[in-house]
Symmetry: C2
Subunit: 470 residues, 2 copies
């Protein structure tokens, strides 16, 4: 069906016309080579690579308007591109079209230190932004691991290891400048910290994955770099005990900044990959932010909770080198997982459930992994109820592929049955569309489709993602 | 123009038919007496009272669906009603129609203590909910002062004195059950703490003031009641020093729970009304939440900041009685303001600006108040950049009314020129519609109107609020 729809939508004459007009306007910033087109399609998962017809590199909002207007005139798709780290085929071009690469729009436009906000272009990555902010004692807290572009992070409602304290992109974007399907530019909100002035267009755009408009400027909330940071690791007798420790920590009001689960297999993989010597049991990695006195108090209170649950000892330190090494290992968990089975394809799952159901969800999934004879270490943003399998699959073994697919179906069904979601932070893209009806129900999915049709009546904005259009 | 549109929309035959059908279905839970209809229209501001044609009291979501379907069949407006504390004419019925009063839908459906969330019906008020939660050591932090219904608070994206720490309704609603314009029920999200599964329907509904659908169930995030709470008041030499103290407090990462400005006139009014003996100078009211050690540290650090800026002494205490008395006085500030000029009409303004511009905005407004010979004490959620005038107007003096209107126009223009908003927390309703174009610009307002038309094509959901439809 995707194919016939695909055939139906492609219009080679229109595409040729668009490429000609864009080439005239953008010169060598319009690229049509096979290699560049393929780099701009999906590359990080097992979803098939569906390259766009051309890639263009705009330098300001006006140029993005120009691109959208040219594409709109010919009903040719427009697909925004940040750094290409998405996992669900967000940047694929199933109906062809033009990929808009924000490489050249990576400036910091303003930092308002007193207001704890900044205005940036969408192509800047989170590490580049934090580098820029460091001298002012400020940072942008959302950390999905990958050095993604901020535009892409907003578009996919990204989060990561410290969402438990700082929230997700929905909580940290104040306002967006967005080029709409007709080429008009809207500003979704003012720079005031809060507003009740009408529909929340900012949150409507955050997580819309380029299907409602293209983000060309972001106003982000910033946080002060904490006076003191403490990090540590804590072993537990079971995943269940890890989850209970997380629940108690949050219930007690300890403002933990990160609380990350690694199951025994993941610890083993990380020991090997990151040259650590941790006991190969379920483990929490933690981080506390605050004043010196406050992080000491938080660490001590967490240590008490861990002990009560049979965990510990909880070793913590405030030395920057130890911390960096620890969190580098956590960020490398995905690569460590991959190294368990070189040559296999890694697939990252992403369910999120109410935290009270997390232990049960992980345990059932670990039983499935064993039953299905698969290799899949577990890492979890356990304070949010969100966890990932790094499912290592030999794609040349059809039976294993079948088992892996079955496992993913079961995991999603289980999460939905627990009032959870199929995706905590990776987004829908192409890969999760099949779960949308089961997750949301027909009326909510119908409302999403109605909004999509209202804002993009010709379905040119990143078509084939999130919601079915027809 | 409102009038002609009004005439055009009213259809007495259709209304009669709807009333007959609702009376058959709801018996004496359908009321058409003049007194009850007027109580359900706008009563708290100087906006004219525009009563609905009937008021109905549903008992569950199914009944709300039934009401909406009957109204939809005849294109008759439906206006949701909580406790009627809104300030901008949200519950008025400019085109007639049926007011849906949630008085009887006020149950707590579930409390999930481990997940820090609860599921409730929309008619329960925040005080009733917190009473229910207290035994479990939990509370719902949003506090707009008035004992509003949670459904109304979500619909108007309310916030209040502790938004600086806990956010607004947009940050504390996890999911909503909503009856749409066609009578279908959608659930906007799952109970998982975060999700990237498609458009953020929850945030689209929060703040939509009943114009896109009617909220019939809410899943709210809860917080643990802090182990220790410290409160205090701190005098300052000027409003400017108060604002700078707030900026420094937030920049230093002190997680202040409330930081409220009262100008000298407001302090004078509160002294008289609440029998306090505060020095009649600009003043901050503060509250800190945390462990005993942490609130002591926070209070001390704030005291240092205040001293640096020529403020203080900062007296703080953790005794519950002192705290209650203090915050009762703060909550009564509006009534205290009114008592400055008995018999006058009180009008509450609500601009919100980037915090760096707050002092300038308040100072310019105080000059305007003096120039215009008006009486208007200032209270401010200074950590958010949001402040209110309680503008006391003799409505029988046309010249004073004219000066008051002029003042409000100037205040809004000034806030918009500072990248602020015309409403930080009261909502648009009817009163702020005239500012929407200036605040958002045509493309954003057009996007809002497109969403409205997509979800409510016949304009029956609380028409005449937020966005122009035609």
């Amino acid at each position: 069906m995707a194919k016939s729809s695909n055939e139906k939508k492609r219009n080679p004459g229109a595409v040729q016309q668009v490429v000609t007009e864009l080439a005239a306007a953008f010169g060598n910033r319009l690229v049509t080579s096979q290699a560049v087109r393929e780099q701009h399609a999906n590359t990080t998962t097992w979803i098939e690579n569906q390259p766009p017809d051309a890639v263009v590199f705009p330098q300001d909002t006006g140029e993005v308007q120009q691109i959208v207007r040219i594409c709109a005139a010919h009903h040719v798709p427009v697909i925004p591109f940040g750094t290409g780290t998405s996992l669900e085929g967000h940047v694929n071009a199933p109906f062809g079209g033009v990929s808009v690469d924000f490489r050249d729009m990576n400036k910091v436009i303003a930092v308002h230190a007193e207001d704890l906000d900044c205005v940036i272009e969408p192509g800047i990555t989170r590490k580049q932004l934090n580098e820029h902010l460091r001298d002012q004692g400020l940072f942008f807290p959302i950390d999905p691991g990958a050095d993604a572009s901020l535009g892409g992070m907003a578009a996919s409602r990204a989060s990561g290891t410290n969402a438990v304290r700082y929230g997700t992109m929905k909580d940290n974007v104040l306002a967006l400048k967005v080029v709409l399907a007709d080429g008009e530019v809207m500003t979704t909100s003012r720079r005031a910290k809060k507003s009740s002035a009408g529909y929340d267009l900012t949150r409507l755009m955050v997580g819309s994955e380029g299907t409602l408009g293209i983000i060309t400027e972001l106003t982000l909330k910033l946080s002060g770099i904490p006076e003191s940071i403490a990090s540590g690791v804590c072993p537990f007798p079971s995943v269940d005990a890890c989850c209970n420790a997380a629940i108690l920590t949050i219930q007690s009001g300890i403002p933990v900044a990160r609380i990350e689960l690694l199951d025994a297999l993941q610890v083993k993989a990380s020991n090997a990959y990151s040259k650590l010597t941790l006991p190969e049991v379920p483990m929490l990695f933690l981080e506390f932010h605050g004043t010196e006195a406050s992080v000491a108090e938080q660490s001590q209170r967490f240590g008490d909770i861990a002990r009560e649950l049979g965990g510990g000892p909880f070793d913590w330190a405030t030395k920057a080198e130890d911390r960096t090494r620890l969190w580098q290992a956590r960020h490398d968990a995905y690569w460590a997982g991959r190294s368990l089975r070189p040559g296999a394809q890694a697939i990252a799952t992403d369910v999120c459930v109410p935290i009270s159901r997390l232990a049960e969800c992980v345990a059932a999934t670990q039983r499935d992994i064993e039953e299905f004879k698969l290799v899949a270490p577990v890492i979890g943003h356990v304070g949010d109820g969100n966890f990932h399998l790094t499912l290592m699959v030999d794609v040349d073994d059809p039976d294993e592929v079948k088992r892996a697919k079955k496992l993913m179906e079961r995991l999603t069904e289980l999460a939905l049955s627990m009032d959870g979601t199929c995706t905590g932070e990776h987004g829908v893209g192409q890969g999760k569309m099949k779960y949308m009806l089961a997750e949301h129900g027909a009326p909510a999915l119908g409302a999403m489709a109605a909004v999509k049709r209202a804002l993009d009546p010709n379905n040119i904005m990143n078509p084939g993602k999130i919601v079915p259009f027809d």
